[in-house]
């Protein structure tokens, strides 16, 4: 990767203003003859400029949570507050990278057009758009494929396009839903580093959802561990790893192993039905 990985100064994380505030979030899917309580009670705060990972087993309600936060789904109870405003519809200043990233790209547009369209909708002038699009394309390493159509690219490259589109949009909060679940291990490692690089470079608040414990620990400043459905937060783990991370070095440190072990234990407990609130599922 050709990106400058110098860590940004720590002070840029604004520890006072919450970028995203989720309070008592509950989501029950109704219809089809039965109700599914996907998320029971989630409360957490993400400060401006943080990179927070949410890890939980499949079916824990991670996608449901992100869809509620992004305003795509009505909540049953509780509220989501982004930059001080309650979310009732997709708010400005938020970008989402979907789990089905390949399907989130417009197949009739080229890579460049895919990235540019949201900027057009934001009302940016042509020259400004062109510049931001190019910066994003270069940042994710797609310079040579800018005029290709998404279906001409591999899965990993499609994911880069989705990320570039989100980054070019300059959101204050970037939500990512298991973005690397479907790419090969090498690509995945590259993309993980890419996310941290972009986070440094563009100073965006990131909420990264994954079912992969290693990935959560490697990427995050904090890891929120989710229980099984109906979902609550089991633990909010502070990741004390140094800011500059590398796939090889970081993953082989004792600290990484300890954190990983800790999170893993929590998840195992969750699987056995342990709930912090003492409720029964």
């Amino acid at each position: 990767m050709s990106i400058d990985t110098t860590p940004a100064p720590r002070e840029r994380i604004d520890t006072t203003t919450p970028a995203l505030d989720v309070r008592g979030l509950k989501k029950v899917y109704t219809g089809h003859g039965r109700d599914v309580e996907a998320v029971r009670n989630l409360t957490f705060t993400i400060r401006s400029g943080e990179l927070v990972c949410i890890v939980g087993p499949s079916g824990a309600g991670k996608t449901t949570l992100l869809r509620c936060i992004s305003g795509l789904l009505d909540v049953t109870d509780g509220e989501v507050v982004l930059d001080g405003k309650k979310v009732t519809e997709p708010p400005p200043g938020m970008a989402v990278v979907f789990q089905e990233y390949g399907r989130s790209l417009f197949p009739w547009l080229t890579v460049r057009q895919n990235i540019e369209l949201p900027l057009k909708e934001k009302g940016l002038k042509k020259a400004e758009r062109a510049e931001k699009v190019q910066t994003a394309i270069d940042a994710v390493g797609l310079t040579d494929s800018a005029d290709a159509h998404p279906w001409q690219l591999s899965g990993g490259m499609q994911q880069r396009v989705a990320i570039a589109r989100a980054v070019a949009y300059e959101p204050s909060v970037l939500l990512m839903d298991e973005p690397f679940a479907a790419v090969d291990a090498q690509t995945r490692a590259d993309l993980e580093d890419l996310v941290r690089d972009l986070w440094h470079k563009f100073k965006v608040t990131v909420l990264f959802v994954t079912h992969d414990i290693d990935e959560a620990v490697y990427l995050g400043e904090r890891v929120l561990v989710l229980s099984h459905r109906p979902t609550v937060i089991l633990e909010d783990v502070k990741i004390t790893l140094p800011d500059e991370r590398s796939q090889l070095e970081t993953r082989s440190t004792k600290e990484f192993a300890d954190l990983r072990h800790h999170v893993y234990e929590q998840i195992q407990k969750a699987k056995q039905g342990f709930r912090p609130d003492g409720d029964t599922a």
């Binding site: 795509l72 399907r103 417009f106 369209l117």
Partner: protein
Amino acid sequence: MNLSSLARQLLLAIALPIVLLVLWWFISANNTSPFWPSLETIFKAFPTTWTADRIMADIMPSLARLALGYGLALIIGVALGTLIGLNRTVRALLEPALEFLRAIPPPVLVPIIALFVGYSGWTGKIAAIALGCLWPILLNTVEGVRGLDEVLVDTSRTYRFRKPTYFYQVVLRGSSPQVATGARQALSLGVIMMVISELFAADNGLGAAIVQAQRSFAIPQMWTGIILLGVIGFLLSVIFRVVEHRALAWYRGLRQSERGS
């Protein structure tokens, strides 16, 4: 696809018609039946039958009505189809009725429309063409809009696309392959309706010219009209294919890549 492969496809497409014409030419060469004149006789009748005046008086009005009727059906069909496709309640309400209306053979529309506006004049003919073309476009559009990928819809929502952008960039372009399928079916229906709508009043138009020739036993002239009709239908479908080929290049690529992986 590049130009040379397009030319090759064209060549393949016209190979069989040429063979058939040649066969027709030789089989009919010494024909004495007045109803089956030799192809040579028919060809010789062309220049005298289709003079510039006749082209302006018959072919042009036919084509103009076809264009108007077809264009109307496209606009109404896509607009209505989008509305129905996007709204589940409207769809549940209208779909059975639409399927029923679709099952009615379009030619039967001609006498019904004539009840209101008569057989002669443009209105009835254009209405007949438009109604005949409407159903395949409408129903295919509904199908296409309904089949829009919900991830694309969510993407447009999170990036807060404005309504016009959403309709054009997502709904219309996303359903365009199905719209094209409907439009292709509608085109051949349109040619059929163009002719049928002219048969009853037989005042002007290509269909009228054929009936007039038949009624006055100008058999070779009648045949020239029929051949001309075939050629027009063929040219229209070639034009359609070229346009579709360009507009939906992305769709072919997408399908190919899906098959490949």
